[in-house]
């Protein structure tokens, strides 16, 4: 685990915090875009060791949280059809649709299976030719290449019993939407390293320039995050707004050309609704026409879907960095992991869950 311990060294972390303290002269608001970053920040208590002037807000980068309710209801409807094996990543299983979730329909008899890769779903399709195997293909640019590969393989093999319910979302348009919003408070971004591993950093300079925001690509370890914060603060203090790659050990500026070519082949850019936020133009991928035969939304007739979102859930504001989870009146009272009102309280990358699971409620000992 040496490769991880190096990025968790307490003394180096304290030195980085001290550097940030030295540099900062006034308040700044930074957004960590990815839910994985949010969890790492709270788990390691990074927010507690930073100078007060540096405020971290949480972004829309939890793939489970932003999957539209309509898509989840559709997934639930498909999963309950006879003869279907419905496959999903683990953290999607508990996310509430309008009236139920995948774990509950599984308990009621639907064949819902947790898989670790879309290729596992493909294996099931080969194994159960008499069943329809559906994979819930959600996520950001990170999960997309594996999903694309599963579709191309199914196509090459002529599998007629495999399909994918696609709800892929793209990070850069979301950052643009946040910057363009009248209520935006975010002055700098910690871009999610693993998204850039696939897509590279090419899409960010235009955003940094247009909105005057530093964008620093960071990883997920404490030192990665602190270094990202340090670089963003240094830029802000100097009045700069550039893209910096603070995760160069993993992220190449051009990303992964093979994966990008595959994505271009399999997906087409589309306007995409984000749960709690609304539709963001050109912020999603759907299957390209050549692969439409593998689109579960088209293969399965589920009738009209009427979604019912909780009126008390303010996850949309959390996802845009407008409020922190404890500022939501329902947080920790009407909304808990046992009775979640929204996906941000359920997903392992959700900001509300991160606060709740790390005890960051008002008056909790971690604040002492």
């Amino acid at each position: 685990m040496k490769y991880l311990d190096e990025f968790r060294d307490g003394s180096v972390a304290r030195a980085l915090v001290e550097e940030i303290r030295q540099v900062v002269t006034r308040p700044w608001v930074l957004m960590e875009v990815c839910g994985g970053q949010t969890h790492a920040i709270l788990r390691n208590g990074i927010d507690q060791v930073l100078p007060e002037a540096v405020e971290l807000v949480h972004g829309p980068g939890c793939p489970v949280c932003v999957t539209p309710l309509e898509v989840i209801d559709r997934a639930l409807a498909i999963a309950q059809q006879p003869g279907v094996i419905f496959c999903s990543f683990g953290d999607m299983l508990r996310v509430p649709g309008s009236s139920t979730d995948l774990l509950r329909v599984k308990a009621e008899g639907a064949d819902v299976r947790m898989v670790y890769s879309p290729l596992d779903a493909l294996k099931l399709a080969r194994l159960h030719r008499d069943r329809q195997v559906v994979f819930f293909g959600i996520g950001f640019e990170t999960t997309a290449p594996a999903n694309a590969m599963a579709v191309t393989r199914a196509s090459e093999e002529g599998l007629t019993n495999f399909s994918m319910l696609v709800s892929q979302v793209l990070v850069p348009p979301a950052i643009e939407a946040i910057c363009a919003s009248r209520s935006n408070r975010v002055q700098g971004f910690l871009a999610a390293g693993h998204v850039c591993t696939v897509m590279g950093t090419g899409q960010y300079p235009a955003i940094a320039e247009r909105f005057g925001v530093p964008i620093v690509v960071t990883g997920f370890e404490p030192l990665d995050l602190l270094e990202g914060i340090r670089r963003a603060v240094v830029q802000l203090e100097r009045g700069e707004a550039r893209v910096e790659n603070a995760y160069a050990r993993v992220v190449a500026d051009e990303g992964n050309p093979v994966a990008r070519a595959l994505l271009e082949q399999v997906f087409a850019v589309t306007d995409q609704p984000w749960r709690g936020i609304g539709t963001i133009p050109k912020s999603g991928w759907r299957l390209a026409p050549a692969y439409r035969a593998f689109d579960a939304a088209e293969r399965f007739e589920v009738g009209a879907i009427r979604t019912l979102e909780s009126p008390d859930c303010r996850s949309g504001e959390v996802l845009q960095g407008l409020i922190t989870p404890p500022e939501c009146p329902a947080f920790g009272t009407a909304c808990t992991p046992r009775h979640p009102l929204g996906a941000t309280m359920v997903s392992s990358e959700g900001a509300c869950a991160a606060y709740f699971l790390n005890g960051r409620t008002k008056g909790a000992p971690a604040h002492a």
Partner: protein, 352 residues
């Protein structure tokens, strides 16, 4: 004690070879049931009480308070790296007894077998149970076998119950932790849960991760032999270290402060958890104990635990405090603090 029978070496007149898989009749109480008892369970578990074949076992127990525990096991697969359902069934109950300070003495074993289970596999499980019982110093003195139709079980479910005796002068319980006590764990955490996950979900990790399943009674006896005033003992099974410490904090109305850097986790276990987005604190263990002891006796307790092979990596991981009663707080490597809480149900691997 004689070796348990090896199925592949069985020859006539071993009638079990005629039915290489479990059939409904093995639970029917007739001749087939008798053969299972005669040719598998008795030779494997051989002891006077069992061989008397009464409706209940008659055993002598020394003076003291009787401890009584039961534990059901539904693990898949039945055999996994470092153990099997057989060891788990024995150690599960033995360890529950040891955690109240009891010396485990006698176990019962109830088998619910699925029609079609290979007799060879059953024999292997029984053999491992017998070996585990020997290692733990207990006797399996009574039992039961039922067979369910194919498709109604996962091959084999096992329930064991056990009795032990708590010698005079021992008084441990999850409600006895006091501010100022030390929190000790007997070794690395998360090994069992990750070992099971790796085989159940077909996840191939670079290095094989083995379950830590083991009897804890010797560790407990060493603690008492070293005159350590043991306040609380727990084996962090389901729910892991987190659930165990939260329960102690709640029951004793104290706070627990954990030092993240001190909690021992094998590199390969930590790597697997990182990959899957799981927290080693919440992963099951089957051969580790948590001991709460007075601060002044922490060193003596560590020395006692380290004198046994399975306790060699025993280490102090935190302290009991009077602040934030009912809550476990972790100090992180970079100087932050977070509250340790539990997931609602099982931890679910993350998407990316």
């Amino acid at each position: 004690m004689p070796e348990p029978p090896r199925f592949d070496e069985w020859t006539c007149p071993m009638p079990l070879r005629e039915t290489p898989t479990v059939v409904m009749g093995h639970g029917g109480g007739g001749r087939l049931s008798g053969e299972l008892l005669e040719h598998l369970f008795l030779p494997a578990f051989r002891n006077e009480a069992l061989e008397a074949r009464g409706d209940a076992a008659l055993v002598a127990v020394p003076a003291g308070r009787l401890a009584f525990a039961t534990d059901a096991h539904v693990v898949r697969p039945l055999v996994f790296p470092g153990g099997s359902i057989g060891e788990l069934a024995v150690y599960g109950t033995v360890n529950d007894l040891a955690m109240v300070g009891a010396r485990p003495l006698h176990l019962s074993a109830s088998f619910i077998l699925e029609e079609g289970l290979a007799m060879e596999q059953l024999a292997a499980i029984v053999g491992r149970m017998a070996e585990a019982a020997r290692r733990a110093g207990v006797a399996i003195v009574t039992g039961d076998t039922k067979v369910v139709e194919r498709g109604h079980g996962d091959g084999c479910y096992l329930t064991t119950s056990g009795i032990g005796v708590v010698p005079e002068g021992r008084s441990v319980g999850p409600d006895r932790a006091r501010a100022g006590d030390a929190v000790i764990v007997s070794g690395t955490i998360g090994d069992h849960g990750v070992a099971i996950l790796s085989v159940r979900e077909g996840l191939a990790f670079e290095s094989a991760i083995e379950s830590d399943c083991a009897p804890l009674s010797e560790l407990v006896e060493r603690l008492f032999a070293a005159s350590v005033e043991v306040r609380a003992l727990r084996d962090p099974t389901r729910g892991g270290l987190a659930a165990t410490l939260i329960e102690i904090a709640e029951r004793s109305a104290v706070g627990v402060v954990l030092d993240e850097g001190a909690v021992p986790v094998r590199p390969e276990v930590r790597g697997a958890c990182e990959l899957l987005g799981l927290d080693p604190l919440m992963i099951a263990n089957e051969g580790k104990l948590v001991a709460i002891v007075p601060d002044a006796q922490a060193e003596a307790a560590l020395e006692a635990l380290r004198s046994v092979a399975i306790g060699r990596q025993a280490v102090r991981i935190g302290s009991v405090v009077s602040e934030h009663p009912g809550t476990v707080v972790m100090t992180t490597a970079i100087g932050g603090r977070r509250v340790v809480t539990l997931p609602l149900g099982e931890q679910l691997p993350r998407i990316c």
